[in-house]
């Protein structure tokens, strides 16, 4: 078992309920495939630096979780089919740092 971070980029034209569904769906996938969700961060609607698949803005969802090869395979499979997710990135870590949150809303 090792630690991972996964950042999903979802379409701009989604409603709040649909975003919540996506969030629940992937946390369930992780839990069902011998993984464990440690933290979920929502970065909200951000401007993309350049256009990705004709979208200028996107919703960011960030997972911190513990898992193995099976969990990663399952996530990659599901994301390939999912049309509402434009792009994602998985990064492996030895230790997760839980202190810093770079995308906290300042209001």
């Amino acid at each position: 078992m090792s630690f991972y971070e996964d950042t999903l980029i979802a379409k701009q034209d989604l409603q709040k309920s649909e975003l919540q569904k996506i969030k629940d769906k992937y946390s369930e996938i992780i839990e069902n495939n011998s993984g464990k969700v440690i933290k979920i961060e929502e970065w909200g609607l951000l401007n993309l630096a350049r256009k990705i698949k004709k979208y200028k803005k996107a919703f960011y969802i960030h997972y911190k979780f513990e898992g193995n090869k099976e969990t990663l395979n399952e996530i990659n499979k599901k994301i390939k089919i999912d049309s509402s997710i434009i792009r994602h990135l998985v990064v492996k870590y030895k230790n997760l740092d839980m202190k810093n949150e770079y995308f906290k809303k300042e209001k």
């Binding site: 950042t7 980029i9 630096a49 990705i52 996107a58 810093n100």
Partner: protein, 90 residues
Amino acid sequence: MKRKGKKFQKKGSNSLNKLSLFQKAEGRFGRSCPFSLKNAPVIDYKNISLLKKYISENDKILSSKITSVSNGKQKKLTKEIKKAKILGLI
């Protein structure tokens, strides 16, 4: 003496703010690596405000000759910048 001290501080801050090929030679050479100090900032693809310092206006990565980042840290920097570019953050 006081005046001299003030002037020196201003120069230092200016050279750090704009890192580019065309900066004065004072700021370029003889500086130590900013990531090898104590309490140095963590290089991470989520820390965009830090990564943006080491990118040119055209989104190219600045060489370590200009920024005086050490060899190992420069390798880490480029990896993290590329991750941020994949996610469309930079």
